[in-house]
């Protein structure tokens, strides 16, 4: 396909005009014309999010309501448990959880957030996977649930240590929320779904709002000098520092949750011996790997030198080895660390922190050290801020 043709086909989020007005550099991403950076650039946007607050348009992501035909949200939760290895039934009203759609081989079809909104579940899925996810949900759950893509909604992420104060000016009730809480609340007179979560490792919020009201909300938030518009470039460098997976790079249909070091997302109730053990696609493989381990594992890597080691770089046990033992799946520059960082899959025997490996970059073997993640400590708000009185 020629560039011109692919541009014609690109979709726009409800905030597209705002991005252009703010001087964003637009790039194609998952079929959308998206801002990769604004005028200040990736480095400043990244650092500003860590020190104050970044505002990200993530409206390209899929928001899908899963409504139980019975009217009881527990029925939707149980139905969804056939597709994900999470405790959805135990997810309280107003709570959110990270989970994975698995395939019959135990691989990952997508990673997602699921929220219990009392009378239905709300799923947030990756842009590149949303059509496939919707089809998967419809095919498997239509008898029990109505699968409703929320196409007329925008989603914006406000992330960073000053996100709370910026949002509290518009929605004071959100101060009571803690990490992974979800609330329906009115912001500037608009009904919003706010979750206290994100993709940066910082405290922050994702705000679902009507497409027609999104720009006014963003304009208002951007009037706060603490809040700066931030693009996909900073979003990627922030998530990598936080050790978070990017679907299509660090996760795909051939990686299992145990390979990916995401077993923390599979609770005891879904594991062998649990009350609702298994029952999701690929359970046989995944439960076996939970008990006995997987052959390979996702790890963090820190190159010893300054050269970034990018996605696709092959890894070796020794400098002179000919057989690659693994491959980098995400790699770049940790802006807050002022050093290169990466993620890769390596044999489990070589996955312990401080293991020294070699990465091939432009024909050279560069030393690289297995490192625990996150690379930058996360600053999630696990307990609510108390009111002054």
């Amino acid at each position: 396909m020629s560039e011109a043709e692919s541009n014609v086909a690109l979709r726009q989020t409800p905030l597209h005009a705002m991005h252009l007005r703010l001087g964003a550099r637009m790039v194609p991403f998952a079929g959308y014309d998206m801002p990769v950076q604004y005028v200040p650039g990736v480095l400043k946007e990244h650092l500003h999010t860590r020190s104050a607050a970044g505002l990200f348009d993530v409206s390209h992501m899929g928001q899908i309501a899963l409504r139980p035909r019975s009217g009881r949200v527990q029925d939707a939760a149980l139905a969804l448990e056939a597709l994900v290895p999470a405790d959805v039934l135990g997810l309280g009203v107003g709570r959110q959880r990270y989970t994975l759609f698995t395939n019959t081989a135990g691989g990952v079809l997508d990673d997602l957030m699921v929220s219990n909104l009392g009378d239905h579940l709300l799923l947030v899925v990756n842009a590149a996977r949303k059509a496939a996810d919707e089809a998967h949900l419809r095919e498997r759950l239509s008898e029990l649930c109505i699968v409703e893509p929320l196409t007329e909604r925008a989603l914006v992420a406000l992330q960073g240590p000053r996100a709370e104060e910026a949002l509290a000016a518009l929605a004071p009730d959100m101060r009571a929320m803690r990490f992974m809480d979800v609330r329906a609340m009115s912001v500037m007179g608009e009904p919003c779904i706010i979750s206290r979560s994100g993709y940066t490792g910082e405290d922050g919020f994702e705000i679902g709002i009507a497409a027609t009201a999104a720009e006014a909300l963003c304009e208002t938030l951007l009037r706060d000098p603490a809040v700066a518009p931030s693009g996909l470039g900073a979003r990627d460098s922030l998530r990598l520092e936080a050790g978070l997976c990017l679907y299509g790079c660090d996760l795909d249909e051939t990686t299992t949750p145990v390979d990916a070091a995401l077993e923390w997302s599979i609770p005891a109730v879904r594991r062998a011996g649990g009350a609702r053990a298994g029952g999701f696609a690929g359970a046989e493989t995944i439960l076996r790997e939970l008990a006995h381990g997987a052959a390979r594992r996702r790890v963090g890597l820190r190159p010893e030198g300054r050269a970034p080691v990018r996605c696709g770089a092959e890894l070796y046990t020794a400098e002179g080895d000919t057989a690659s033992i693994g491959r980098v799946t995400s790699g770049g520059f940790g802006v807050s660390l002022n050093a290169p960082i990466a993620m890769a899959y390596v044999p489990t025997a070589r996955s312990a922190p401080d293991t020294r490996l070699f990465a091939e970059v432009r024909g050279k073997r560069l030393p690289i050290i297995v490192s625990s993640m996150p690379f930058v400590p996360t600053r999630y708000k696990r307990s609510p801020t108390r009111s002054p009185l």
Binding site: R25, V36, Q37, G41, V42, L43, K44, H46, G233, D236, S237, R306, A307, P308, R310, G332, F333, V335, P340, R362
Partner: protein
């Protein structure tokens, strides 16, 4: 007078010595640079061969030798401070100097007008 390549390098001649860098257009397209890898002094390159690498947060890009020759000097300042290439791409953000061995190759380069036309 700068000469340009279609791959967005610039070149400034002083006798038989060429100073090479990336154009303001290139640095703008690449965004904030975080890593620069330069060739060794004494290394020989033919025109069009990858001689240096500049990397932004997200991606690595090769810098090609605009003409054939031997590396005579490299700019260690941009290795220590890659952002200098963004700030002063045709000044203190130069990458390397090469002693050229075939002046006839200079005629294959673009002048400012031709390069401008390419990037508009």
């Amino acid at each position: 007078m700068l000469k340009y390549t279609k791959d967005h390098e610039w070149l400034r001649m002083d006798g038989n010595m060429a100073t090479v860098g990336i154009t303001p257009y290139a640095q703008e397209k690449l965004g904030d640079l975080v890593y620069v890898e330069l060739p060794s002094v004494g290394a020989m390159f033919v025109a069009g061969a990858a001689a240096a690498t500049v990397e932004s947060v997200k991606a690595a890009s090769e810098v090609y030798a605009p003409v054939s020759g031997e590396i005579a000097a490299v700019n260690d300042k941009v290795v220590a401070e890659p952002g200098l290439v963004n700030a002063e791409p045709t000044g203190n953000g130069w990458l390397f100097k090469m002693k050229i061995n075939n002046p006839a190759e200079l005629t294959t380069l673009l002048d400012e007008l031709a390069y401008k036309a390419l990037t508009e």
